[in-house]
Symmetry: C2
Subunit: 80 residues, 2 copies
């Protein structure tokens, strides 16, 4: 089973990387008002069914993949 | 207009960050066979319509956001 996890800085949390990218895009002439940068993780895991897979990936997020104080995460599951 | 850009290492390209995450997840007891790590960028831009927005974001990817030699990108548009 494959899961895609999107980890993003929470609203109100500073995102210097996003600000840097926004500044560079503006210098290149693009009219961008906001850029936020996070991570995408594609995880292939063994699980019995979608429900168990989602529960496992949620635990992965809490234990390792995201910092829940400053980041939110979103899980998308794809059957193979 | 808001665009979400997923930038991922291309197939066959080494991804040491993904390997490190996979190793850590395995040590935590998760049965993961593969992890790849990329970036997600949320971009708010001014554009006349979806078609122009997509064209602009594609140019952003080629010029700054992705390295087309080693990374692929995927663009998702959301109207506000």
């Amino acid at each position: 089973m494959r899961a895609t996890v999107l980890v993003r800085p929470k609203q109100g949390i500073l995102d210097p990387q996003g600000e840097a990218v926004q500044g560079s895009l503006r210098k290149l002439g693009f009219d961008v008002s906001r850029v936020r940068v996070g991570r995408v993780l594609d995880v292939e895991l063994a699980a019995d069914g979608a429900e168990e897979a989602r529960a496992q990936v949620e635990r992965m997020c809490v234990e390792l993949l995201a910092n829940p104080l400053i980041e939110s995460f979103e899980i998308q599951l794809e059957a193979e």
